[in-house]
């Protein structure tokens, strides 16, 4: 008697477990497809601190965000498992087609920046030019006491130490901005490597995420990497100064990023809002511009049942109150013309 009881109980338990699992799967599927009042987003890690600030301001219950990386964000919005995606790199042609009627709107302005770990070189002392940076990542400059680096850093004691260039091993908006800049300043880079969220690195080692690059840089003396600026500030990493086209060595600050963004006012903004502001040309206007600044984008479907909520939220995010609140993470205020273009795109959303 107790034995049959056990047998029946086991089978019942198995059946119940199966049922629960099936229910869980179907309900999860349903929740992923159709959410209620809350706006769900996923993507870029660069914008994540901004969204963390915005969430309590906009209403904790009306906003959710997971920082899974720009590529993941585009995939998530393409499959419509979220209401908006976020990416630091504008969508490529095939991504745009895959997203099936999505638009991208620039909604924050920040930068990625080279950081170094060289014994004997203090905070923010090292100076670099775009060409030298490209040659380091191409593997043609391999020592810190290379004449090309020495010439830029007179008075700095540079050791006879191998350079280890560190890159992002996962696809990343930071890599997009970084390679976008290197492609503009170096012909060999443009033809050999190119510009994308993942490229074929000629040399060096990879780290996963900002944290992975920062860890690799701090663990290997003689290394150089690039990370999002908020991450540099939070972790007190050693920045390298970058020479802009006007000949000044700049650090990423609100002012120097804002100066780069003035580039958009001179040209017109394309309908797809794809804007590159790396390496602004030589001019008095851009005398103090930081050459590695970037817009980061929110990606939304043109047609969605939540068009109203999305419009309200993104309009709010583009507003001066939301933009001012994220200054402490080195997000510079967006130029008026970009905000205007973004609102124009936003008006095309419908349910």
């Amino acid at each position: 008697m107790p034995r049959t009881g056990k047998l029946v109980r086991i089978t019942l338990a198995l059946a119940a477990a199966g049922l629960v699992a099936a229910l869980a799967v179907t309900s999860a599927g349903a929740a992923g497809k159709r959410s209620t009042g809350t706006l769900k987003g996923a993507g870029s890690t660069l914008i994540a601190p901004a969204l963390a600030v915005w969430q309590p301001m906009y209403g904790r219950d009306s906003l959710q965000y997971s920082a899974i990386g720009s590529g993941g964000g585009i995939q998530a919005i393409s499959q419509r498992t979220v209401d908006f995606g976020a990416s630091d790199a504008p969508m490529t042609k095939s991504q745009g087609e895959g997203c099936n009627g999505c638009v991208q709107i620039p909604w924050a302005l920040t930068a990625t920046s080279p950081v170094v770990n060289i014994p004997g070189v203090g905070a923010h002392q090292l100076k670099l030019t775009g060409t030298v940076l490209a040659n380091i990542y191409l593997g043609t400059i391999t020592k810190w006491n290379d004449p090309a680096i020495k010439a830029l850093n007179k008075g700095l004691k540079l050791p006879n130490l191998s350079i280890t260039p560190v890159h992002r091993s996962d696809g990343s908006g930071d890599t997009y901005v970084f390679t976008n800049y290197l492609s503009k300043v170096s012909k060999p880079w443009k033809t050999k490597v190119g510009n994308a969220t993942t490229v074929s690195w000629p040399t060096g080692i990879g780290g996963k995420g900002n944290a992975g690059v920062a860890a690799a840089v701090s663990a290997n003396s003689g290394s150089i990497g690039y990370v999002s600026i908020f991450y540099v500030i939070q972790n007190h990493l050693n920045l390298a100064r970058l020479k802009n086209a006007s000949g000044n060595y700049e650090l990423p600050t609100i002012a120097s990023i804002e100066a780069s963004a003035q580039l958009v006012n001179s040209g017109r903004i394309p309908a797809n809002n794809k804007i590159s502001i790396t390496n602004p040309p030589k001019s008095k206007k851009y005398a103090n511009a930081y050459p590695l600044a970037t817009f980061t984008y929110v990606i939304v479907p043109k047609t969605s049942p939540k068009a109203g909520e999305l419009k309200a939220f993104i309009t709010w995010a583009l507003g001066s109150k939301a933009q001012a609140s994220i200054k402490k993470y080195v997000f510079a205020p967006m130029p008026g013309s970009v905000v205007k273009a973004g609102k124009k795109t936003l008006a095309t959303l419908h349910s």
């Binding site: 720009s70 590529g71 991504q95 091993s169 969220t197 690195w201 080692i205 990879g206 996963k208």
Partner: protein, 325 residues
């Protein structure tokens, strides 16, 4: 296990027929469905992977297996470097882990004082429970720098004439990955070996000792030959684990895709690590499809590993006249 118990009991103690039969039918149905589900799932998975890899298969063909490099900008992908990295890291880890694991297992079954066996066994098995991402983090922050500052220069200066021990520039190397994988497969091989050694009939061991052999001769003449097939299978299981490990390897190997080198102190990449790193950012259809192709290679590889393990066990068992475990 408990279901087996129950049916065994049922045979001995007859029940009113109908209740037992409903139970049996239910059990048969549920268990059968579960087994069928697993087979169907595997089939669907294999189909989906082959289907996903189709574009890359038709574009690159078998040349994919030897081409080294991963270039999304110019849409040229190859698995050569990853295959090389996977082979070197997993075989290297196996070479380091096997003697260590056998030593641990022998110590715990034959040599250690009884009171120490329980705690040490538990600790070794805890090693298997550490999440791989934690081992990877330790690998990049602690192990890598130590290897780079002390171990690699020492090995290079003493054994530098062997091309495997070249100069090192970073702590994120193939060698670091080998050590991390060694730590991960060690508990698998050692705990299976320990079970096997415990299963050697005590009569045989006592007989050997009774003939006046030393403990080492007893181990060499009785314990090891008796468990050879099982140990080989344990090694192959460990190899499978090493081949499939993605996250910890991705963290420490340096993710360098653009060339292969026999220098263990240089960076590289593996099949599993590349899939883990790249899948979210794959942009073009060909890129995604090439990742599926890497997955297909991994799938085929693990299938081969499993078959190999079975073959080894069966062959050794036949030679010894012991039924396969």
């Amino acid at each position: 296990m408990s279901t087996l118990d129950a049916t065994g009991e049922a045979a001995r103690r007859p029940f009113p027929g109908r209740r037992a039969r409903t139970g049996d039918v239910l059990l048969q149905g549920v268990a059968g469905l579960a087994a069928l589900g697993a087979v169907v799932l595997l089939g669907l998975l294999a189909y989906k992977i082959v289907d996903g890899a189709r574009l890359s298969l038709s574009t690159f063909g078998l040349g994919f297996l030897v081409h080294v490099g991963w270039d999304p900008v110019h849409s040229h992908f190859g698995a050569g470097g990853f295959l090389f990295g996977t082979a070197v890291t997993s075989i290297g880890a196996l070479i380091l882990a096997t003697p260590l694991a056998l030593g641990i297992a022998l110590f715990l079954t034959e040599l250690a004082p009884r009171w120490i066996r329980g705690p040490v066994t538990a600790l070794v098995e805890t090693l298997a429970a550490i999440p791989s991402v934690v081992i990877g983090l330790w690998g990049i922050l602690v192990l890598g720098p130590v290897l780079h500052d002390h171990v690699m220069p020492a090995l290079h200066s003493t054994l530098g004439f062997i091309p495997l021990f070249g100069p090192s520039t970073t702590g994120s190397t193939i060698f670091t990955a080998i050590l991390v994988l060694t730590i991960m497969i060690l508990p698998i091989v050692s705990s299976i070996s320990r079970e096997l050694f415990l299963g050697v009939p005590p009569e045989l061991k006592e007989a050997a000792l009774g003939l006046g052999t030393t403990r080492w001769e007893m181990v060499r003449g009785v314990v090891l030959p008796h468990t050879r097939g099982g140990v080989a299978a344990a090694m192959i299981l460990g190899l499978g684990r090493a081949v499939g490990e993605a996250i910890a390897v991705a963290q420490v190997i340096g993710a360098f895709n653009n060339g292969i080198s026999w220098n263990l102190f240089s960076s590289g990449n593996t099949l599993a690590a590349q899939i883990a790193l790249e899948y979210q950012s794959a942009e073009t259809k060909l890129d995604v499809s090439s990742l599926f192709y890497l997955g297909l290679i991994l799938l085929v590889f693990s299938l081969v590993v499993n078959l190999l393990a079975r073959m080894v066990v069966r062959r050794v068992a036949r030679r010894q006249g012991v039924p396969a475990r």
